[in-house]
C-alpha cells in the first residue's frame, strides 16, 4: 500500500524545513502565551479560585491550555501546508508525482502533527515552571496528545484543500475552533455551568477531547474517558473519510 517512501520523506522534510524557518517564533509563541495565561488565570485569578475536584485551579487549566494551542496550531499548520502549494501553483508537482493520496496525507499530516506535539510538550514544560503538574496516566496522555494532534492536522489539511482564500483558511481556526475550545471547558469544569448551558455545551465536540485529555492528567473529567476516546476516534474517522473523498474526486485539487 505504501510504496513511495522517498516521496513521503521528501514532503516531510520539506514541511519540517518550512517550520525550521519560523522555528523561533513558533517556539517562543506558545511559551509566551502559556506564561501569560498562567500569570493571569493561574496566579491572579486562580489564587481566588477554589480547587476543582481536588485539583488546584492552576494545574486544572494545564490540559485545556495545551489543547487550546495545539488545536489551533495543528489546524493552521496543516491547512497552510497544503494551501500554500495550491496558492503558489507548486501543487502541480505533487499531483503529477507517483505518490498516492495516503502517502501524501501521511507526509503532510505527519509533519504538521510532529510540530504540534513539539508545541504541546513545550507548553507542558512551561506550565511545569508555574505549577506542579502530575500526570496520572502518562502513557495515555502521550497517546491522546499524538492522536489529537493527528486528528486536528487532518482536519486542518481538509480545510487547506477546501479553502479558496487566506481568509477562509484562517476563519475556521479563529472563528470556530478557538471559541469552541474556550467554551469546551478549557478553563472550567462543566459542572460549574448552569444546567441549561451544560446541556448546550454537550453539543460542542471539543468538550469530549478536552475532558479526555484532562482525565489522563487527573483521573477524572467532565465525561467518562470511554466517551472521550470514542468521540476522538469518531472525529478522526470523519476527517480521514473527508480527505479521501477529496482526493478521490479531486475536489478543489484537480479540474
Amino acid at each position: 500500500m505504501i510504496k513511495n517512501i522517498h516521496g513521503i520523506a521528501a514532503i516531510y522534510r520539506f514541511e519540517m524545513a518550512r517550520f525550521r524557518r519560523t522555528f523561533w517564533t513558533s517556539l517562543i509563541m506558545p511559551v509566551i502565551t502559556t506564561s501569560l495565561y498562567f500569570i493571569v488565570f493561574g496566579s491572579a485569578i486562580g489564587s481566588r479560585m477554589t480547587e476543582i475536584g481536588g485539583v488546584p485551579y492552576g494545574a486544572f487549566i494545564v490540559p485545556g491550555l495545551i489543547m487550546l494551542s495545539m488545536l489551533t496550531e495543528s489546524i493552521s499548520n496543516a491547512s497552510f501546508g497544503i494551501y500554500m502549494p495550491k496558492w503558489a501553483g507548486t501543487i502541480y508537482e505533487i499531483l503529477s508525482a507517483p505518490i498516492s493520496p495516503l502517502e501524501t496525507v501521511i507526509a503532510y499530516v505527519g509533519a504538521a502533527a510532529t510540530k504540534s506535539v513539539i508545541i504541546g510538550v513545550i507548553i507542558l514544560l512551561t506550565a511545569n515552571l508555574f505549577v506542579d503538574v502530575t500526570i496520572a496516566h502518562p502513557f495515555l496522555m502521550a497517546l491522546f496528545l499524538v492522536t489529537i494532534a493527528v486528528t486536528f492536522c487532518l482536519f486542518g489539511f481538509a480545510i487547506g484543500i477546501w479553502a479558496k482564500s487566506f481568509e477562509q483558511l484562517q476563519a475556521i481556526p479563529m472563528l470556530v475552533v478557538f471559541p469552541l475550545t474556550f467554551l469546551g471547558g478549557a478553563f472550567y469544569a462543566l459542572e460549574m455551568l448552569p444546567p441549561f448551558w451544560r446541556s448546550v455545551t454537550l453539543f460542542n465536540p471539543l468538550v469530549y477531547l478536552i475532558s479526555g485529555f484532562r482525565w489522563t492528567f487527573f483521573g477524572e473529567g467532565d465525561v467518562s474517558i470511554g466517551v472521550s476516546i470514542g468521540a476522538t476516534l469518531l472525529f478522526l474517522t470523519i476527517c480521514l473519510t473527508t480527505i479521501f473523498w477529496m482526493f478521490r474526486t479531486g475536489y478543489r485539487l484537480k479540474t
Partner: protein
C-alpha cells in the same frame, strides 16, 4: 530547409535501428475527451500516439487544448472519457508506473520561493520515488548553468533562471518522457538556445519529448513530428518534413517587365494574383501535383507577349500550413 535536410541525412545515416525504435509507441491516447465543469469542451475525442524517442511538437492557438492534453497525461486534470497508457501502464489504474516515467515543466513559473535551488531539486527527485543522488543532481545543475546558484533561494533568481530550475526539477528523477509546456514563451534568446540544445541532448539520450509551442520555427527546427491542435481537435500529426511536403504549396513570383492592372483573361485558369503595384505576378501551386502548371503558364505568357525579367519560387513554411489548417477548421 538546410537544417531539415541535414537532419534527414543524419537520420538515415544513423541507420535502421533508430527508425525502428522510433516507431514504438510510448504514449497512447484514445478517444480523449475533456469537458470542464463550466461546460467548456477542451478536447474532443483526441487520438494520439507518441513514439518512443521522438520530439513531438504540439502547435495550436491559445485555448486549443494543448495544456489540457498535457495536464491529463501528467495527472493534473481528470479526463471526462478516453484511455491513456504510458509505456503500457494505464495513467489512472497504474499511475505510479506511468508517472514515474514522466517529467513535466508547466507553462507557468510555479516555484517554492523560499527554498534553495538544490533543496527544491532534491525534493522533486524524492517525490518521484528516487533515492538521493547528489552526483547526478550536481551534473544536472551544471548542465543547466544552475550549479553556481544552487544555494540561492528561488525567489532571488531571475525569470529565466527560475525556468531552468523548473526544468531541473522535471529532470531530477531521470524521466523517460519530458513534457515541456510552452518552454520558450517569454524566454530570452540565450535561454532559448540553451533550451534547444538541452532538448536535443535529451533526445540523443533517448528521452521522448512532447512540447507545445506558439513558435512555429521552433517546431520546424526541433520536432521530428508536428501535431496541430485547434479547438480541442488534432487536425493533423505528421513528420515535420512530410507535413511540409504534403501540405506545402509553392509560390512562383514573376517580376513583369511592365505593370498590369489585372491578370490577363487568357491566364484565368492559373488563378493568378498581382501584387507590388502590378509588377509581380503570383502563382500558387501544389508542389506534389503531377503537373505544376508552370511550363504551360510560361508558354502561354510568351504566346500573349507578356514578358518578365525575373522569376522566383518559394515553399510555404509550417506557419502558412498551420494558419491554413486552423482557418479551414474554423470555417467548417
Amino acid at each position: 530547409m538546410d537544417g531539415r535536410g541535414a537532419r534527414a541525412m543524419a537520420l538515415s545515416a544513423s541507420g535502421f535501428t533508430l527508425r525502428n525504435v522510433n516507431m514504438e509507441t510510448i504514449i497512447n491516447i484514445e478517444g480523449l475527451t475533456k469537458t470542464y465543469a463550466g461546460g467548456v469542451v477542451a478536447l474532443k475525442r483526441v487520438d494520439l500516439a507518441v513514439r518512443k524517442g521522438e520530439i513531438l511538437a504540439l502547435l495550436g492557438p491559445n485555448g486549443a487544448g494543448k495544456t489540457t492534453l498535457i495536464n491529463i497525461v501528467c495527472g493534473l486534470v481528470t479526463p471526462s472519457s478516453g484511455a491513456i497508457t504510458v509505456a503500457g501502464s494505464d495513467i489512472a489504474r497504474d499511475y505510479r508506473a506511468a508517472r514515474s516515467l514522466i517529467g513535466l515543466v508547466p507553462q507557468e513559473l510555479h516555484t517554492d520561493a523560499f527554498e534553495a535551488v538544490i533543496a527544491s531539486v532534491r525534493f522533486s527527485r524524492g517525490l518521484f520515488g528516487k533515492p538521493r543522488n547528489d552526483a547526478f543532481l550536481e551534473q544536472l545543475l551544471k548542465d543547466l548553468s544552475l550549479w553556481d546558484k544552487r544555494n540561492a533561494k528561488i525567489m532571488e533568481l531571475s525569470g529565466g533562471m527560475k525556468r531552468r530550475v523548473m526544468i531541473a526539477k522535471a529532470l531530477s528523477h531521470e524521466p523517460d518522457i519530458l513534457f515541456l509546456d510552452e518552454p520558450t514563451a517569454g524566454v530570452d534568446v540565450e535561454l532559448r538556445r540553451d533550451m534547444w540544445a538541452m532538448v536535443r541532448a535529451m533526445r540523443a539520450r533517448g528521452v521522448t519529448i512532447v512540447l507545445t509551442t506558439h513558435y512555429i520555427e521552433e517546431a520546424e527546427e526541433m520536432a521530428d513530428r508536428v501535431g496541430v491542435i485547434s479547438n480541442g481537435e488534432i487536425l493533423v500529426v505528421d513528420e515535420t518534413a512530410a507535413l511540409m511536403k504534403k501540405l506545402g504549396r509553392r509560390t512562383l513570383i514573376l517580376t513583369l517587365t511592365e505593370p498590369h492592372e489585372q491578370a490577363p483573361a487568357e491566364l484565368a485558369e492559373w488563378n493568378l494574383s498581382l501584387r507590388g503595384d502590378g509588377h509581380e505576378l503570383v502563382y500558387e501551386f501544389d508542389a506534389n501535383a503531377e503537373s505544376s502548371g508552370v511550363p504551360s503558364l510560361l508558354r502561354r505568357m510568351s504566346d500573349i507577349g507578356m514578358g518578365f525579367k525575373d522569376l522566383n519560387t518559394s515553399q510555404s513554411s509550417l506557419e502558412d500550413i498551420f494558419v491554413g489548417l486552423v482557418n479551414e477548421a474554423k470555417a467548417e
